[in-house]
């Protein structure tokens, strides 16, 4: 087993990996950009190495600096988390040359599945159902126009190099194609350092169902069942769950076997996710392989009892899988809500600023994977994910109730977050009924606004504000007062406030 691992990431996922390492007795090295000195992952790691200025391209995407940090600290392996260099096959290949273990798939498999277009070709050959679309990346815009016409609008622009909604665009008409391609390329370039995009037929309102897989270096492959991630905004998942309400045991087994076929066709090892779209008639299509730990991996951990980060590390260290398909089963129901710094009333515009106060939800069956804290200034340079709230309960209804209770207990003050929006999503009758597809947000939450606030709570808020203005907390620190009226009020005849009395 490794003695020291470098985590080439930041935020909640770096924290998650550090925790796993610590439990395994492995030392951890964090890397950080200039704006992340006070970031949680830096505080928690055993060692920390600065790797450059705030923009990711100069720090978290800078392979030279990350490799130098691993060399300098003697880290034997690098965990890339998700995003940044996680699916960069050049990085994996460089590490292989440097004899540093990349905690992820081998570079050949990574290159194949990372090239979404070549992956499609391979899977088609292996007999895996795929979505109609382009089988190569054209040089010229006009070729996209021809392909789009052939597929028939609407089509989907997708980044060849990555996922997570980055670079993704739905195009409904020829007129939108060129600007869509330009924007998609820029986003892909900035997110993955590769501007290649391609087109696929847009399947309307499918469910997004993905299978978690694990494959060791000796050809042993298992799937850990599905996650449904249909609830998306800006083509990015915000609520995920397992099991999916759309699968019955037969379909689950069939899709699971297909996922394993994908893994074998790609020569893939370590943890990965095989994404499918499931249409209304329960036909499923291979979408892509996410060749990394997923944001939503805790949902699977809750249902299967398998710690995926631990498995990733063990597989990378050359251990064999200690269980086989028949040992795995799903128990209960898990839900995840992603907590973004964003304003759901303004088209999910990212928000930044200082987290003045954070109260994390907790309790039985509640897990909060969190990369921030009270007093942390959310930088503008990175993905606006702050944390993930994951719950598990005996059944889906209980899990929804638990999620709602936890979201209701979840205070982040000072910046905008998606919490209120998520409550309305989980509480929506169609969601509760399990009738979800990727059009869910568009269909049910167009022009969403927060519910009218209760007069009762407003009164309490005002009373609390007034109390605070006079008497702000045990610290005795006065920060801001309400305007105390100078005009005569009936109360003034009752005598003046006596500050701090009787507390």
């Amino acid at each position: 087993m490794f003695k020291k691992i470098l985590i080439a990431n930041r935020g909640e996922i770096a924290v998650r990996v550090i925790k796993a390492c610590r439990e395994m007795g492995i030392s951890t090295v964090a890397v950080y950009s200039d704006v992340d000195r006070k970031s949680l992952h830096v505080q928690m790691a055993d060692e920390a190495v600065p790797i450059g200025p705030a923009p990711a391209i100069e720090s978290y995407l800078n392979m030279d600096r990350i490799i130098a940090a691993a060399r300098a600290t003697g880290a034997e392996a690098i965990h890339p988390g998700y995003g940044f260099l996680a699916e960069n096959s050049d990085f994996a290949r460089r590490l292989e040359k440097e004899k540093i273990v990349f905690i992820g798939p081998n570079s050949t498999a990574l290159e194949l599945v990372g090239d979404k277009v070549r992956a499609r070709q391979t899977m088609e050959k292996a007999g895996v159902p795929i979505i109609p679309g382009m089988n190569s990346i054209p040089k010229d815009i006009s070729e996209y126009e021809v392909a789009a016409k052939k597929l028939g609008y609407p089509v989907m622009i997708k980044a060849s190099a990555g996922g997570g909604g980055k670079g993704m665009r739905i195009v409904c008409s020829e007129q939108e194609l060129r600007p869509g391609l330009e924007a998609g390329r820029r986003e892909a370039k900035s997110a993955f350092g590769d501007e290649s995009v391609y087109l696929e037929k847009y399947i309307e309102e499918p469910r997004h169902v993905e299978f978690q897989v694990l494959a060791d270096n000796y050809g042993n492959t298992v799937h850990l069942f599905e996650r449904e991630c249909s609830i998306q905004r800006r083509h990015q998942k915000i609520v995920e769950e397992s099991p999916s309400q759309a699968l019955d045991p037969a379909l689950r087994a069939k899709m699971g076997e297909t996922a394993k076929k994908v893994v074998r066709a790609a020569g893939y090892n370590n943890a990965g996710t095989v994404e499918f779209l499931l249409d209304k008639n329960k036909n499923f299509f291979f979408l892509e392989v996410n060749a990394r730990l997923q944001v939503e991996h805790p949902v699977t951990e809750f249902c299967t009892g398998v710690d995926l980060v631990r498995q990733q590390i063990r597989i990378a260290a050359g251990e064999k899988l200690s269980f086989s398909q028949k040992d795995l089963e799903q128990r209960g129901h898990a839900l995840e809500c992603r907590i973004y710094a964003e304003d759901a009333t303004k088209n999910f515009l990212p928000s930044s600023g200082k987290i003045l106060f954070l109260k994390e939800p907790k309790g039985p069956g509640v897990r909060h994977d969190c990369g921030v804290y009270s007093g942390w200034e959310v930088p503008i340079y990175y993905d606006p994910i702050l944390a993930k709230l994951i719950v598990w309960a005996e059944d889906r209804d209980a899990a929804c109730d638990r999620m709602l209770a936890a979201l209701n207990d979840y205070a982040i003050l000072g910046i905008s977050t998606s919490i209120s929006f998520l409550k309305d999503v989980v509480n929506h009758p169609e969601f509760r009924a399990g009738r979800t597809n990727t059009g869910f947000i568009k269909n049910h939450f167009e022009n969403w606004g927060e519910k009218e606030k209760s007069e009762d709570k407003l009164r309490l808020a005002l009373a609390a504000a007034a109390f605070d203005s006079i008497n702000s907390g045990p610290s005795g620190k006065k920060v801001v007062g309400g305007t105390q009226k100078a005009t005569v009020s009936p109360w003034q005849t009752l005598g003046h406030w006596r500050l701090g009395e009787g507390r």
């Binding site: 303004k346 503008i380 009164r459 504000a465 309400g482 109360w491 406030w497 006596r498």
Partner: protein, 168 residues
């Protein structure tokens, strides 16, 4: 003691007075007695008619953020709110419209030049923040009066980007 606060742009008055065994709260027609306990710098426990309320509170220079049972209120002192532009808002004045950055970010594209005529909903510029591109669109028909920023510039959320003149 009477307080005035601004919540969601509306002015609200509340009277809070210490009395035997707690505080008297008068709001509109209603008057109640509350037991208010400070639990920590960010937590208050209120008890009113046997009901218990847990209140989280945080402060920055201008505002108090108050969280009660899943709902957040932003409470401001009146008078302060007009001193600055607000994120993503447009300031219209005599046919002029000032477009400000919706959030801190980086200008990565400007689609228009000064004096150019623009349609409603036309994309004027793109600001990137947290790896997402955000189109800055015109909400009116008109002309580009002035462009305050250039491509590559980092802007914060109150930074004026473009001034438009609306069509008469």
């Amino acid at each position: 003691m009477e307080f005035e606060f601004l919540v969601d742009k509306e002015l609200r008055k509340i009277v809070l007075e210490k009395k035997e065994g707690g505080y008297c709260i008068a709001y509109g027609e209603n008057q109640v007695t509350a037991d208010i306990q400070s639990i920590s710098p960010h937590v208050l426990s209120l008890m009113i008619d046997g009901r218990s309320y847990l209140v989280y509170i945080a402060r920055d220079k201008e505002k108090k953020y108050i969280f009660i049972d899943g709902q957040q209120f932003i409470v401001q002192e009146p008078g302060r709110e007009t001193k600055s532009f607000h994120a993503g808002e447009e300031k219209a004045q005599e046919g002029k419209l000032l477009i400000t950055a919706p959030m801190p970010g980086k200008v990565i594209k400007i689609h228009v030049v000064e004096q150019q005529e623009v349609r409603k909903n036309q994309t004027l510029a793109i600001v990137e923040a947290m790896k997402m591109e955000n189109d800055i669109k015109s909400s009116v028909e008109g002309f580009v009066k002035k462009i305050f920023v250039s491509v590559g510039e980092l802007v914060d959320s109150e930074k004026p980007l473009i001034e438009l003149e609306t069509k008469k």
